[in-house]
């Protein structure tokens, strides 16, 4: 049994123009201690999916009745809010995209970390403070004993993201969801943060979902990658296999847009033409078909299902098999 099992996740939001389907029937699972990368453009539904897992959807969200999310075998949708709260922060934790706004400006770092410790682990004030200092040291914050009493505005963006990681790690969760943890950061500190996340997840045997729009981020860090497009998983494979041979044209497009060190300077990166589809009235057939060079009449008529082919799954009528081009 996997640690996290998501079945048929479906989330929509009412808007002035109609219902916007952000996540449209996603199923995936993460095993204990493994790292799953979820990759997609903004608006592909990856962040909404992560919030659905955490049970943090806004009130206006509507979820599909067949949606099941199980953590360690427990069905989260069936739990009362009280029980769910006990899991959040303790069994599953989350890191947000923008560290500049993710920390409370009027609370000290120690209070923000210690809060979880005191609530979930029943620590006393003194004990929680000591543990907070240890956690700050563990995430590589210099002078943790002084920093613990400082406020977020006294730290740089990269340092704040380290604090956010310390908050997430506080109660040793079994699952960590990192939603674009480096997107808002300077390129120079991005690697440090990603390495820290990877090291911590290994050290603690903690499963992690690493959400990003950049396939380059998951390379070498995730065990498995799921590519999302227009609210659906369009391809899922072990990371190596995916990088070696992507089947779905959209994934291939994403791969082509990663800058490589061996590239000659000034080489133009290939961007995928067109724009992501309108999720209030998505195109008939495959959602990617309007932007796909290989689209046929079949693609425009009928959406391909996610074929269950063992380790590698993809949703495409015309997969490029074994780098056929």
């Amino acid at each position: 049994m996997s640690l996290l099992e998501v079945e048929n996740a479906r989330v929509a939001f009412p808007t002035a123009r109609g219902l916007l389907t952000a996540v449209d029937g996603v199923s995936l699972s993460v095993d204990e201690g493994r790292v799953l990368g979820i990759v997609g453009e903004s608006g592909s539904g990856k962040s909404v999916l992560s919030r659905a897992i955490m049970g943090l959807l806004p009130r206006s969200a509507r979820t599909g009745e067949a949606m099941r999310i199980r953590l360690g075998g427990r069905e989260l949708g069936a739990l009362p809010e009280r029980e769910l709260r006990r899991l959040r922060g303790r069994e599953m934790a989350m890191i947000f995209q923008d560290p500049m706004t993710a920390l409370n400006p009027v609370m000290t770092l120690g209070d923000q970390i210690g809060e979880s410790l005191r609530l979930h682990l029943g620590m006393g004030r003194r004990q929680a403070r000591d543990r907070s200092v240890e956690l700050l040291a563990a995430v590589g914050l210099p002078q943790p004993a002084t920093r613990v009493d400082q406020h977020p505005h006294q730290l740089s963006g990269g340092m704040r993201q380290r604090v956010a990681i310390a908050i997430a790690l506080a109660c040793d969760p079994r699952l960590l969801i990192a939603d674009e943890p480096t997107t808002a950061l300077d390129v120079t500190v991005q690697h440090g943060i990603l390495d820290l996340l990877q090291a911590q997840s290994r050290e603690r045997g903690m499963a992690m979902i690493l959400i990003t729009h950049d396939l380059g981020v998951v390379a070498g860090r995730a065990d498995e990658v799921a590519v999302m497009y227009a609210g659906r998983v369009v391809e899922q494979a072990p990371t190596r296999a995916l990088f070696a041979a992507a089947s779905m044209p959209y994934t291939r497009g994403l791969l082509a847009s990663i800058p490589r060190i061996e590239d000659a300077p000034g080489r133009r990166l290939e961007a995928i033409g067109g724009r992501p589809p309108d999720l209030v009235s998505p195109p008939a057939g495959c959602a990617f078909s309007p932007r796909c060079a290989h689209a046929s009449d079949l693609c425009r008529r009928q959406a391909p299902g996610l074929e269950d082919g063992g380790a590698t799954r993809f949703a495409c009528w015309h997969p490029a098999l074994e780098a056929a081009e």
Binding site: M54, L56, R59, R85, R86, L87, R88, G89, R90, A93, M94, F96, Q97, D98, T101, A102, L103, N104, P105, V106, M107, E115, S116, L119, H120, Q150, H151, H153, Q154, L155, S156, M159, A164, I167
Partner: protein, 321 residues
């Protein structure tokens, strides 16, 4: 530091303008004080002597400068009616006024905060609408009307609280508070609505912030998120408003002190206007303006204490990392 000096300079100019406006208005009051003091059957000679004695024979400019320089040096003048020193008269009445306003603000804030929390929890929900409507009703009820109704209910019908009177603190805390409850409530029932709306609006914004999402992700309860995480960063506009409201509160206290017979500065002003006690009127209005300016200065200080980002400025802890 420069900005602080600039502000202080501007405040001085503002206060100078306030005293000038007050002085000119009082000088324009109809009636002849000298004649009033001398009595109806005084000779013209006697009236002229009195006029010279209290300095009314000098030009307006000289009288103004004389009065203002007195205020700067701490001599606020003397009532021509009662012979009281103006400053002593005001100082003696400050405690009652201050207590009334502080109590009113305390009641207003303690009504506004829970109401705003309930509203911000589910904006446009049933609770939000109900409280919003209540606030409309409350703000449509001027304090003097509230006062009349409160007296009718709590003093005359139920007999729980006195309708008028004032006891100094030396008479005991409860004895002192008892007659203050209805007046303070009358003021607070108008003031809380603006505080509530401001706090609600800012809090709805704050609840959209990422750090609130993070608090949720940490498994914090709704109540803890509202009270511990959202309240403080949401309260900056409300704090500013608390300072601005001091002006309105002083205006309100004038009429409330009159209704409940509280010996405060507001009542002194009303009595002085009715008896045309010029020096006293000038003194009271100047005092109110000073108090207003001071209150807003204190608000800024409180603001800095609440927001660590502001506190850091000028202090030793700057932004670095």
């Amino acid at each position: 530091m420069n900005a602080l000096l600039r502000r202080a300079g501007r405040l001085a100019v503002v206060l100078a303008v306030v005293t000038l406006i007050t002085f000119l208005l009082v000088a324009a009051l109809p009636g002849d004080v000298a004649l009033d003091i001398a009595g109806a059957d005084a000779t013209e000679q006697e009236v002229a002597e009195i006029r010279a004695e209290i300095g009314l024979d000098r030009s307006l400019a000289v009288r103004y400068l004389d009065w203002v320089s007195g205020i700067v040096t701490g001599d606020w003048g003397q009532s021509w009616r009662t012979g009281e020193r103006v400053w002593d008269a005001i100082a003696q009445r400050v405690p009652a006024s201050l207590e009334l306003m502080v109590l009113a603000q305390i009641i207003a804030v303690s009504l506004a905060i829970p109401a705003a929390l309930l509203c911000a929890r589910a904006p446009d929900g049933r609770v939000d609408r109900a409280i919003g409507f209540l606030a409309f009703g409350s703000v449509s009820m001027p304090s003097f009307m509230t006062a009349v109704l409160l007296i009718l209910l709590f003093s005359l019908t139920l007999g729980w609280l006195p309708a008028t009177g004032y006891e100094p603190l030396s008479a005991g805390l409860w004895e002192n508070l008892r007659p203050m409850i209805l007046p303070a409530l009358s003021l607070a029932l108008v003031e809380w609505t603006a505080l509530m709306r401001t706090l609600r609006a800012e809090m709805i914004g704050v609840l959209q912030e990422n750090y609130i999402a993070l608090a949720r992700a940490k498994g914090m309860s709704d109540r803890r998120i509202l009270v511990v995480h959202a309240l403080r960063p949401s309260s900056f506009s409300m704090i500013t408003l608390l300072g601005l409201q001091v002006g309105r509160l002083m205006g309100g206290s004038i009429i409330i002190e009159q209704i409940f017979g509280i010996p405060g500065v507001g009542r002194l002003l009303v009595t002085s206007v009715f008896s045309r006690d010029f020096m006293m009127i000038q003194g009271c209005v100047t005092f109110f303006a000073l108090a207003y300016v001071l209150a807003n200065f204190c608000t800024d200080l409180a603001y800095a204490r609440l927001d660590p980002r502001v506190r850091g400025l000028g202090g030793k802890a700057g932004a670095h990392g």
